[in-house]
């Protein structure tokens, strides 16, 4: 019985890897924009994409723009990200106690203004006229 349970568990793992990078066994990292304009990336292979996670919400006081940088992700539809170790702990702290990082808040303000300036609720199927 334990053998079949083990096989089932392996099948589940194979069917539902949390991310491609997890399936490949490479690491996740947190990338915090408020630290520096230069991001640090711990690259574990030659893959050319990474996954970012921006905590963007709302009027809550938010600490920083934290990005879960996942080296080796292939990108695309339907993937999810996760964190480990100290990165996970920091994520938990940010969820519980977001701070008021000035750079982040100004980014959010600019985003709201850009939305108001550019977004049009009417969908299009043809070119808009230059009026």
């Amino acid at each position: 019985m334990w053998f079949y349970k083990g096989m089932l568990w392996l099948a589940v793992l194979k069917r539902y890897p949390r991310t491609p990078a997890m399936a490949a066994g490479v690491a996740d990292h947190v990338w915090t924009l408020e630290r520096s304009r230069r991001c640090w990336i711990s690259q574990t292979n030659d893959q050319v994409s990474l996954t970012t996670r921006l905590d963007f919400l709302s009027d809550m006081p938010i600490s920083c723009i934290a990005m879960a940088v996942e080296i080796g992700a292939t990108g695309g539809f339907g993937e999810s990200v996760s964190l480990h170790g100290s990165d996970a702990a920091r994520f938990v702290n940010e969820v519980a106690e977001p701070s008021r990082d000035e750079r982040r808040l100004s980014h959010l303000e600019r985003s709201d203004r850009a939305y108001e300036r550019y977004f049009s609720p009417e969908p299009i199927s043809n070119l808009p006229a230059n009026e």
Partner: protein, 158 residues
């Protein structure tokens, strides 16, 4: 006329289809960049259409009627989640039964190479972030996910 961020709806007429097919975010700088090629082909080759047809993703065009080309960039959005690890679940005991946080995912985002370096892309990314924040007022969602091209990290940092 100011630039517009507009959601695509099917069927797309011939004129707009030609504009979409002419989208090119590669230029000379990104010819050997597989991520940029994927972003380019997703729009120009019409790979965004199944998502629209099945109602699982939305593609937004960033159009500037006074510019040439008129199509400045695009973004495709869908919903996703941030899955919590067991350790995260234990630390967030008040969220009993919640294993994932909802998220808006930027599946694709790209700017035509003829508009790159003009900060149009920054405007597009900010408008998309603003749209996600707007959505979050109606259905609580706290994260915006994006697959970023590692060669374009500086753009995401800006």
């Amino acid at each position: 006329m100011a630039p517009q961020l507009r959601r695509l709806a099917l069927p797309i007429d011939e004129q707009l289809s030609r504009v979409i097919a002419g989208f090119n975010c590669l230029g000379d700088k990104h010819e050997d960049d597989p991520v940029a090629e994927n972003v380019n082909g997703f729009l120009a080759d019409g790979r965004f259409k199944p998502g629209l047809e099945h109602g699982i993703s939305s593609t937004y065009l960033f159009l500037d009627p006074s510019a040439d080309p008129i199509l400045v960039g695009y973004a495709t959005l869908t919903f996703d989640s941030v899955r919590l690890t067991n350790a995260e679940k234990r630390k967030m005991e008040e969220l009993i039964g919640i294993a994932e946080f909802g998220a808006v995912r930027i599946q694709m985002i790209g700017v035509d190479h003829r508009h790159q370096g003009t900060r149009c892309g920054v405007g597009l990314l900010e408008a998309i972030t603003g749209l996600a924040r707007k959505l979050s007022q109606d259905v609580a969602v706290r994260f915006l996910l994006a697959d970023a091209n590692i060669r374009k990290v500086a753009w995401y940092e800006a």
